[in-house]
């Protein structure tokens, strides 16, 4: 049995219907556990004070914002190359979630910046490239909405995602070159944790897992909606023609 079978709408609907309750439950448990742990049961940090608690939403959402774009790139490619409708619809379904994640990262970052750097906004490369990422999300969503024919929309947004990814990377590099900023370097990495002690690391890991599961749950739900919408449109069109 090949993985491409799940690209068949019916197969996808069946499988996702089975998986959805599990994912939803797991997402709720991990997310609530992680956030509660992070918010109530972690100590102050020497340099950040209690603001360190923001990390439990800031970092997972920032990671998801990037990863969701990568996921959209992959599913767009699958659509462009193999023309599986579900794949294109998954990209469409993911984009608003990605935008929300970007917004969360931006807002929490801004709120964090106020006490730490004394300013809501700084033209730091990390922050700036997130702003640009947000713009890419906005453009992508706007293009989906502007086009009527779903296959046309899938093709064009796919191409945009492709070209946009290249330029998002390029912007990241350009922005770095332009201004060395204040933001933390990447001190988290899965195998080595020099700067972050376990007290922060475990609840953070839990939160990251929670965000990932939440994203999967949302994407499944929204993709199911999009698939239904396509079928609905097809039925309506056929009824009119008959």
């Amino acid at each position: 049995m090949s993985i491409w079978e799940y690209a068949n709408p019916k197969k996808f609907m069946q499988t996702s219907a089975w998986a959805l309750p599990w994912v939803t439950g797991l997402a709720a448990i991990t997310l609530v556990a992680g956030l509660v742990w992070g918010f109530f049961f972690t100590p102050e940090a020497a340099n950040f004070g209690t603001t360190v608690k923001i990390i439990y939403i800031h970092v997972p959402s920032a990671m998801m914002a990037i990863n969701i774009w990568v996921m959209m790139l992959v599913t767009s490619l699958i659509w462009l190359i193999r023309r599986h409708h579900v794949s294109a619809l998954a990209a469409k379904a993911a984009a608003p979630v990605g935008l929300v994640m970007t917004l969360i990262a931006l807002f929490t970052g801004a709120i964090w910046g106020q006490p730490m750097w004394g300013t809501w906004w700084e033209w730091d490369p990390r922050l700036t490239s997130f702003l640009i990422l947000g713009l890419f999300y906005l453009g992508y969503i706007a293009l989906w909405q502007a086009i009527d024919n779903p296959d046309t929309a899938a093709d064009l947004t796919g191409v945009l995602c492709l070209v946009g990814s290249v330029f998002a990377l390029l912007s990241r590099y350009a922005v770095n070159f332009w201004n060395q900023g204040l933001h933390q370097g990447a001190s988290l990495s899965v195998d080595k944790q020099e700067n972050v002690s376990d007290v922060y690391w475990y609840p953070l890991l839990l939160c990251i897992t929670g965000f990932i599961l939440l994203f999967i749950m949302l994407v499944l739900t929204r993709t199911r909606t999009e698939v239904r919408l396509r079928r609905l449109k097809a039925l309506e069109a056929r009824e009119r023609l008959a």
Binding site: I104, T221, T225
Partner: protein, 53 residues
């Protein structure tokens, strides 16, 4: 019950607040739209009798 947040209380609380609002927003929107489309599709299938079309 709420932990002692000191002088950063406003920052931390508003960060969590904004996040919750946005997360609940996207979840609610997804579920609401899912329900609406599902209902519309059911009605359409009923009408066209295209259950196994």
């Amino acid at each position: 019950m709420i932990p002692e947040l000191g002088k950063y209380a406003v920052s931390v609380m508003s960060a969590y607040g904004v996040t919750l609002v946005l997360l609940v927003g996207i979840v609610a929107q997804s579920l609401w739209r899912a329900a609406r489309v599902r209902r519309a599709l059911d009605a359409q299938e009923q009408r066209t009798g295209a259950r196994n079309g």
